[in-house]
């Protein structure tokens, strides 16, 4: 691969990269919104809502992303196209719905890691459930949710390459098209591999740093009495790591 060759591919590849980034950005935002909804529904005081949400999460987590992507594309693609929504939006929808199940569980674990005594204390002040969540529980749960959210952006960027299989002209797809013209698969896939890594590796080091930072901050805030007095936060913590490792399993 000569430099001039690389130079000639670059405009096309960068164009594809831009689509990948757009896809990642929109899908990340939607995932975040869905995940928050799922987490809140999963801790609803109403049993039927909890059950339905749990069933949905189980179902969603069982379906491979690529399968969901292809089924939505085959099943709804033409209707969405009729509505003026191209394959890009099929990919956004499938990725964020699929990913929200994982992130939602992580958020739920973060919420449930806040001890029952915090709920009791807020409730005994006369705060409503919604106020308790908004003023007391969520502000404490959010820091623990930030590093997994960054990790999720990485995951979504990687997952966005699957959109190439439903005709979205993102980075992987444009490179496949380049390969079919140049017959230089090694060189071209190496190039885009490097492009993906240039984005995901720094982000994943950032997420790791963030996790250490947040843990240190949280460690400062947890009163030692609460740490050994109540079982709840510890159970919650295992839960969180379980959710994360379950997520990592498919992430890797």
């Amino acid at each position: 691969m000569s430099l001039t060759e690389l130079e000639s591919w670059m405009p096309v590849l960068l164009q594809g990269l831009l689509v990948s980034l757009e896809l990642t950005a929109v899908a990340s935002l939607l995932t975040f919104a869905f995940a928050t909804m799922i987490a809140l529904l999963r801790i609803s005081p109403l049993r039927p809502i909890r059950l339905v949400t749990t069933a949905f999460v189980d179902l969603d987590r069982s379906v491979p992303l690529l399968a969901l992507l292809i089924f939505v594309y085959f099943g709804l693609g033409k209707y969405l196209a009729f509505l003026g929504l191209p394959a890009f939006w099929v990919a956004v929808l499938a990725i964020s719905v699929n990913e929200a199940a994982y992130l939602g569980e992580v958020y739920r674990a973060a919420i449930e890691s806040i001890s029952q005594e915090q709920w009791d204390a807020a409730t005994s002040l006369g705060l409503s459930r919604r106020q308790t969540l908004a003023l007391v529980i969520l502000p404490q749960a959010v820091p623990a949710g930030i590093p997994p959210t960054v990790n999720d952006v990485i995951y979504i960027l990687k997952a966005s390459s699957l959109a190439s299989l439903v005709s979205v002209n993102e980075l992987t797809n444009v490179s496949t098209q380049l390969v079919s013209v140049t017959f230089l698969p090694m060189q071209i896939y190496m190039t885009i591999g490097a492009m993906y890594l240039a984005l995901t590796v720094p982000l994943s080091y950032f997420a790791r740093w963030l996790e250490v930072y947040v843990n240190r901050r949280l460690g400062l805030r947890v009163p030692p009495e609460a740490a050994h007095g109540a079982v709840v936060p510890i159970a919650g913590a295992t839960d969180l790591s379980a959710a994360v490792s379950a997520k990592d399993a498919t992430d890797a």
């Binding site: 005594e117 807020a122 005994s124 002040l125 006369g126 609460a226 007095g229």
Partner: protein
Amino acid sequence: MPDEPILEMRGLRKTFGRAEVVCGVDIVVRRGEKVCMLGPSGSGKTTTLRCLNLLTEPSSGELYFHGQLVGRWPSGRGSRSAANDAQRLRRHVSMVFQHFGLFPHLTALDNVTLGPVHVLGMNRREAAERARALLRRVGLEQFAEKHPATLSGGQRQRVAIARAMAMNPDVILFDEPTSALDPEMVGEVLSIMEQLASDGMTMVIVTHETNFARHVADRVVVMENGVILEEGTPVDIFERPTQRRTREILRARVQA
């Protein structure tokens, strides 16, 4: 009217799964009264206390606040109006917890103002002024901007008491407020509570501090196995208990 009942619980029973933790307790708390609840752990005193502000929902019983029925159990469970009634009751019935229950993401001052601002609808400035005054009363004015993690256990519990007082409650429930404290910090918390008692606050206190009960309580309730074993003035209970078991329990406590 000093004898006016503020809180009254009749026929309280509470079961968790199969275990009956409280089996038929009647309790009346009158204005200005200090009621101390003693008993071995697992006797149902904390559950009884938590039922008084409905943090724990009774399995059966009736709860009256100022003579008005708040709820009767078993009832239509989880109904919205019941939840609202409970929420309204808690504006007037504050609670202090064993592990303080301070909100770690808020400063001491914000812990104290949270309820007045968001539940009583007080404006922030007024709430902050009152909170400062309350923190001064518990001797912590200079810690107003500190987060709970930087305070000692005794200081945290004093902030928690200030937070309870900030709601201007009719009664404050204390759930073993000194049990989680290092011994050298127990005194500072008890002295704040004594001060509160002498100001005329109505208090229900679950405690193991028999000395405190002896000279602060108007009435001592001794519980075991989910029932009230004996109830009376501190003199009655400590000097001439009618039940042998009461004496054993109290002796065990004094030695402990």
